[in-house]
Structures are given as C-alpha cells and as structure tokens.
Assembly symmetry: C2
Homo-oligomer: 545 residues x 2
C-alpha cells in the first residue's frame, strides 16, 4: 500500500482555496500511485476556525468540501479533517472528525476524543468528545485513524485526559496509525512531537503516519514536519519545516524501517524561519503586499525589518526614521545604513514639530509639572501616528517591533511603539533578539554591528538606557522565562536563586501591565507560551501585583 | 434550619480582601441565628481567575482561605467555592469545588461536573469534571450541593452536556439544593436564571438556594440577584441586583412557599446599573479614582460621562473638548453645557496645531494625494494622544466611548477614538445608547437635547454624517444583533427579510475589522455576546469577508 501525506498551508474559512489545494494534491498523489492520501485536522476549513464554528453556514460549507472530495475519491482514498454535526441533542453540537472517503463513499468517520483546551486551544468550546473507536478496513489493512491530540495522552508524565483512544482500538489489531494533526510551532515542539509519536509507536508496535499543517494563521504558525515512523521507533521520514509538501510512502518500506531521516533542529534558525513565514502569511492571507515600520537604529526594529524584507521582498518594505532631540546621531546613521544594506525606501521625519505642538497645546494644563513619562509617551505616540498615517495613505501594514522582554514588563507605550497589525518579536526575548541579529548577519553584515553592540535605549530622554529602569536582560529574561513559560511562582523562583526583591518587582511589573498586552497586536507565537490567546490573565486581578 | 446566602463582590486574587469580607458575613449570619452560610463559586479567589489557576502558589493561597474559614466554622456551617487539587495523575490538575465546612472540619466536598466552556467561560481549560455526586448530611437534612453550571442542563432545549448531576443525587432523596454560582450579567440573564432554577425545582420537587456574585471583574459584571425558590416554583426571594447582601432564610418558610418576590427587570435600567458598577469596580479594584474622557458634543461621550460621574463622583471626572476645523459650533456648546450640568472640570484644546504639524511633516510623502481617511485618522489620533497625555500626567484613566455598532463595523480609529482603559459602551448598540440617554434625562435634562436629536456624525470632514458610510442605525443594529448575538448566517438573515446586498456588506465590515477589535479596550459586557473573550474570531480568516 502506498500512502501519501499532504502537509498544506490552509486558510481559515477559505473553503474554495483549501479545496483547490487539496484537489491538486490528490492529483499529485494519484500520479505517484498512492492508494490513499491524508490531509490535516479540520483541513477543509483551516485551523483554528474559532467561533466561525458557531455558524450553521460554516458547517454546511465544510460538509460541501467533504462532499467534493468524496466525489473524486476514485482510485484513491482521501482522508480529511472536518467539523461534523453531533446528531444527539445532549452534548456539544459538533465533532472534530476525520473522514475516510473511498470510491465516492464515506468508508468511515473517526471523531476526536481528546479535545485540547489549554494554551491557544479551545476545542471543548465547540466539540463533543468521541466515545467510539474502531479502525477502518481498507484494501485488507486495518487503519487506526486518529485526530491530533488523541495520541498525546501516551508518553506524557502528566496526562491531561483519563483515556487514551488508541488503547481502545488495539483489540482490533490495526496495521498502522494515521494521525491528522494541526500542531502549532514552538521552537521546541518538533522534537516533542517526535517523542510523542515514538511513545505511541513503541506502545502499540505499529507504524504511524502523522500529517501536520504548515503556514501561519495570524499569530499561530504551523511548521509542518509531518512524521513517518517505523515500528523500530526511528523517523523513517520527516517532511520539511514551513513548506507545503506532498510525499508518497510505501507501507512495506516503512514497516521494514532501519532508516533515520530526522531533520536537524536549530532553535535560532527555526525561530527565524517561523517569523519569516508568519509575516508572509499574515500579508498574503489578508491580501496585503506592503509593510512599513519605524527604524530607530536599535536592534529590535533592525531585526524586524530584515525579517520583513525576507518575507515580502525589500521592494515591499518601507521605513520611517523619526529622530527626536534625544536621538543619538549614530542612531540615524545606523538606521540609514541598514536601509541601504537592504535596498529599501526610507524617509526621515523629525518628530520635534509635532512634539512641540503637543507641548504648546497642553501648556496651561501642564504648568509647573516636571518632564516625566508623559513627555516620553507623547514622542512615542507621535511616531505611532506618523507610521499609521503612512499606513493609511499608502496601504502599507505597520509591523510592530516590540520584543517579549519589553512586552512582559510593560516597557513600551500603548498607542505609540505598541502600534502595528502584527507583532513580529513579541514572543522573542531581548537576549534571543541578539541571537537572531547575529544569525541574520552570519553571511555578511546586514545589521550594522553598532546596533548590536551598543547598550539598548529607548532614547526618550537624555542619556536614557534600558538598564536605568530594568535589570540587565541577561538577568531579566531567564526570570521571565521561568515565570511565563514555566509558570513558576515567587517561592519557586526564589528557590532557583533569583533575588527575592527582583522577583517581587518583576512579577509585579508583568502583572500590572496586563492592560497593555490586552490591547497589543497579535504576536507571532514561537515559544510554548506566547502572549495573546495562549495566556489569559485577569486585568483587575490583585495577585503578585 | 436557617440558611444565610452571602452575595459578595469578590476581587480576583485578593485573598486577604475576599477572606475579610467572608469572615464579616459569617459574623452577620451568626448574629442572625443562621445554621449555615453559603458563598459563591470560587469565592476565595474571585471569578474568573483565568491562568492564575496554573500557579501552584495561587492554589495554595486558595486552600489557606478555605482553612481559615474552616477554623471559624463553629456554631455555623460555611459553604464556599474554591479550586482544589485533583489527586489523580490522569486528567486536569484541578477541580472547581464547593466545600462544606462545619465545626472545624470538612464535612464534604462536591466538585463541579459541567464545566462551561463557551462565550467568556474557559473552565475545561483548568478543571476535571466531577464523576461522583452525594448529598451532604447536616443537622438531619440532606443537602444537594452543586456548583453553578451543574443545574443548567435541566430546562434547556439544547443541553450542552450528556449528564445532569442532580439526577445522580436524587436517589439519596435530598431535602434541598444549595447552588454556588458565579453567573455574569447580561440584560436578559436574571430572567433566564429564574427559569433554569424553576426547571430544577419542578423536576426535583425540592427548594433551591442559589448564591451569586455581585460586582465587576474588568469586563465581566456580576449582578447578584441570588434566588431562593420554594417547591411551588415561586421566587420566595430574589436578592438585590448589583449590591452586596447577606440574608437569612428559614427553611420551613421557604418549603411552605406561597410567596412571590421577584424583582422587576427593566432592560435599560439594568444596563445603566451594570455600567455604573462596571466603571466603579474597574477603578476601585485597580486602585484608581479619577477618569478622563473626550467630550465631542455627540451622544456616546455624553452618555459615558454621565455614567462616569455617577460611578466615580463628578469631582473625579475630567473632560477635554477637542474641536477641529470640522467641528460644528454647537458641538462645543453642547459639550460645555453637559460638563456644566454635571459640574465637572473641562478644558478646551483645539487640535488644529498638531494636525497641521503632522500635515507639514508628511508634506513630501503625501504630495499629490487627496484628503481621505488618513487625515480623518490623524485628527482622531491627535485627540487620543492629548487624552493619554492628560492621563499620564495626572493619573486619570481614559474611558473609551465607542459604541457597539461602531465597534462592530470598524467605524472608529485604532489608537485614536478607540483608546482607553475600559470601553463603557462597546456592548451597547447605538439605538440602545439613545435609550440610555433618555433614561439618564428622565428626571430632568442632563444631556443637552441637541446631542440626542442631531444626526450622528464623527465630524472628521466637512458636513460628514454617519449615514454617509453606514446604513441608518435602526436598520444596522437589528442586523448586527442577529449576526453577533444570535449567530445567524447570511442565508438566515436574508430569510428574515434583510436586504441581501446589505447583509453581505455589513457582514464583510464586521469580519474585516476583527483586527481593530483585537486591539480594543476591554468592553463592559451587558449583552449575551459582547466583544472580547466571549467572541473569538480569526483575524486572517477569509469567511464572509
């Protein structure tokens, strides 16, 4: 038996586009003699469809796509994920299902039982868990069909569910496991996925074909890396990261095993590739081509613009240099040099006239008040307004350049430097931004070395440095990582050796700035805990604040 | 037996404050001879605690509060909601539990089985559902303890769950039902709650004591209205809306029934009271006192400022009047009149100098480009920057005045009039804003009549009216209501008689503006489907757009 896996970049709600891609993949697989082709979880509608699932019309269109695939399932079986109606009145109205289509018929449907409802996932919001598990019989083989999370209760020290669906299938002695996934990227996730697939293969002693999505849906990036694992627990093949791919495998060869084709996993490279895809798909899927951002001469905007130029082409990226009276001379030079290195259009617009107009307008009200964060914020908001004006006039979408360290502690101006359609670095700590900068310069200097080595500064008052109000990033970032990614509380953090006063101060900064993150741009997610839908915190809470 | 219900305004994560309130309520109940007192769901930590539940420390502090209540449960039993650890490794790590504390001991614990995971609720994100149900025996009575949603599968045409926990209790013949809830307000919810309580009482033939929270947690408002229902299905008592209250009931009297004490439910009044509480609690719980907002002479800012003055006191509300060259003379007059009617401080700051400074700064770039939405947005962003500058300098929190109709169709400027810490009217359609305005004027004109009767306009270009780019609100609002609140798709909307072209246009406007709502301030929720956590839509989706 020859099995094709199709790892595609779906688009949420774009039924026509998704179907066209799948039909093309069916043709490719057929031409290579495949007996069946397997697509991803909820492939017909894209993932995550969120509350579109509450519209009857959305389910009807999903079913129409399944019908269209069923109609072409001649000479090749098609396995595809789609939402389906729960015919029973009690319980949620939908199932998250895998359809097995063959010769114009539905040969079988397997619903998902384990519904991820944590981090960015909300599946129990929509779906009823499956209670029946039965392999599909196809061309003499028994296929254990499963959807994504249904394999994740195995090989897990703290299993989230009380059953493991494949356990229920095993009395039927299936020949192999076919898993339809939509498993989002984080820089450690490809390795974890392989570990979970291996735990299943070892537990059940049969091979697994695991199909993932690729491409980004706003903040959520899918990295592909679909897995074919032999019963010997070796990765027979791992499909490419961040690319569409259709490949055909011979079941007998996979059963034989003895082949290890796992791809190298380099953290910085994975983050880099994810961000380039993330930017690109945000624009492509919204029908935009051109970006704009502010270049300050600092490292965050430098890294962002290089990534944007890679994703969209330098001809589609435009920048504003917006010096103030507090900007150092070299900042403009560094920014200009970078723009020239990339071959992108830049304009220099000084913010002083607008800043002074605001000062004059509020002179009576501000009489006798000292210069403080208010005036710093006015500068940031003048820049935001200039960038948005360019964006509105020319249709360039504003990219936000705030990094995760700043976003964590609220070091940034709401409606100022926090403006933008999508946050490129909001899930990348400052220390990781430096790693990215060096990675981007690995084949020759693109980002001026000066932007990398100078002490970070917002340049909003004379001589300002980030370390005036924040601990050094080498200290701050590991603390933030333990608090945000690892959910360690004050007691655990102090036990790890972090200074008690620092822990209290930093946790307070993180918590009292929830109101800013609530209004932030969506953040391209590259870690296991990004800001946005994956981290849900009260605003008026009084805890560690 | 005498049963006390305590409907309190908890504060998420404020363990000390919540405990102090509960201890005071215990004393009150004791002094009135109560045998037991019942608090709300997750009362020790406040609701919804969201991802704070993922911190071990948060659970330990919750348990410490339970222990403190246990220690004082002498002469009176205390029933209280708290998160508890699930001792079994498989499944979620927590239960959402009701503790029955008596004479310094835990007499029983009932976990919640039905975990609301829809709209604003995310409970399956954290909790394992209960599988055991047993009444508590106390002073010769068998008490069916239940947490919130566990009574909601009864009396429901489309039940979300496959079991009804109280069904499992009934073989033990309990004497009455005690329900600990955290049931948020919407203007139709108090009536629905009574209907569900009645369906349970009629099904099981025993009385119910239902305890709710009151007060607001950012966007989510609890309206109290705790219910005591006799076996005859009549409301023996309904506790006040939007107020803390501790009341003691005699079980025999409730059993006897024959009394109907349901409160009147007036939609506009309920929305009004909810918004006043919502504003007040946002400030009190964040430790702020003073608000600021922009007064345009239009109806949205007029209604917002009156609500703010009621919530915070006129002495704590300050406004800016920020006319442009496109503002009509009467707009400033109306705004000034309103400020004087309320006795609040106002400043007039013309935006022309900043607007002209931006025009001059971008002159080269904008050469030959016509005046369009860019220039309109610059005006709105200058106003946002002025308001935020006042906010930063004086600590007044900015109130957002955008209404739900505008927010739905994206008629508003991101980082401009969409600025603010909390959106007061973001869940109130424009037609409802008029109803609120008339309600606020019912005892004499506070809002100048001219602000109510003039055609709505953003006044961002000469002679502009909302109806230049939007259908009349009398047409738009019902369509939005059917799409947003009722999740009706295009086919259903057209079948209802809405014009096909209009349906297509409006649904498209709603969907392509998801990116704006993603960055909006949290919205005080007063309807069954507010923007924010309760409505989760993809941004890059291509559906009805």
């Amino acid at each position: 038996m020859r099995i094709a896996l199709a790892q595609l970049d779906y688009h949420i709600g774009n039924f026509e586009g998704n179907l066209a891609k799948m039909l093309a993949a069916v043709e490719t697989a057929k031409s290579q003699g495949a007996d069946l082709i397997c697509f991803g979880e909820l492939a017909v509608c894209g993932y995550p469809p969120r509350d579109f699932l509450e519209f009857d019309d959305f389910i009807l269109q999903s079913q129409a796509s399944v019908d269209a695939l069923k109609a072409v399932s001649h000479g090749i079986a098609i396995v595809v994920g789609a939402p389906t109606r729960n015919p029973v009145v009690a319980g949620k109205d939908l199932f998250n299902s895998a359809y097995f289509l063959s010769e114009g018929e539905v040969l079988g449907v397997q619903h998902k039982a384990l519904l991820p409802t944590y981090d960015i996932f909300d599946e129990y919001r929509y779906f009823e868990p499956a209670t029946e598990f039965k392999p599909i019989l196809f061309k003499g083989k028994k296929i254990a069909l499963s959807v994504c999370e249904d394999i994740w209760n195995v090989g897990n020290e703290n299993p989230l569910y009380v059953i493991s669906p494949l356990d229920e299938m095993m009395p039927h002695k299936p020949d192999f496991i076919l898993n339809l996934s939509a498993s989002p990227f984080d820089y450690a996730h490809a390795a974890l996925r392989i570990q979970i697939v291996r735990a299943n293969v070892e537990r059940y002693g049969i091979p697994m074909f695991y199909t993932n999505h690729t491409g980004a849906q706003t903040d959520i990036i899918f990295d592909g890396g679909s897995i074919i694992m032999s019963p010997d627990g070796q990765v027979f093949d791992e499909m490419p990261y961040f690319e569409e791919s259709v490949k055909v495998y011979d079941l007998d060869e996979v059963l034989r095993g003895g082949r290890s084709a796992e791809q190298p996993k380099n953290k910085v490279q994975l983050i880099h590739d994810a961000l380039v895809i993330g930017i690109g798909d945000y624009f492509r899927k919204l029908g935009f081509k051109k970006a704009i951002l502010g270049l300050s001469g600092g490292i965050d905007s430098a890294v962002t613009v290089v990534l944007a130029a890679k994703a969209l082409g330098p001809e589609n990226v435009r920048v504003l240099l917006m010096p103030s009276q507090f900007s150092s001379g070299h900042s403009v030079d560094d920014a200009r040099q970078l723009a020239e290195n990339l071959g992108i259009t830049y304009d220099i617009v000084a913010i002083k006239p607008m800043y002074e107009a605001f000062e004059a307008a509020l002179k009576t009200q501000f009489e006798g008040q000292p210069f403080n964060v208010t005036e710093e914020n006015i500068q940031a908001r003048v820049r935001g307004t200039l960038l948005m004006a360019m964006s509105n006039k020319f249709g360039n979408i504003l990219l936000n350049t705030t990094n995760k360290s700043e976003m964590s502690v609220g070091y940034g101006t709401l409606y100022g430097d926090m403006c933008g359609g999508i946050s490129v670095l909001g899930d990348v700590y400052k220390t990781e931004v430096y790693e990215l900068a060096n990675y981007l310069n690995k084949d020759g200097e693109v980002i001026p070395q000066n932007s990398i080595v100078k002490p970070p500064s917002a340049e909003l008052h004379p001589g300002q440095k980030d370390t005036d109000s924040l601990p050094p990033y080498e200290v701050l970032d590991p603390l933030l990582f333990q608090y945000i990614e690892c959910r360690q509380g004050p007691r655990e953090l102090i036990a790890m050796g972090f200074d008690e006063a620092l822990v209290k101060r930093v946790l307070r900064m993180v918590n009292i700035n929830e109101f800013k993150r609530e209004q932030a741009a969506p953040v391209l997610r590259v870690s296991s805990k990004g800001f946005g839908m994956g981290r849900r915190m009260p605003i008026v809470g009084k805890y560690l604040s």
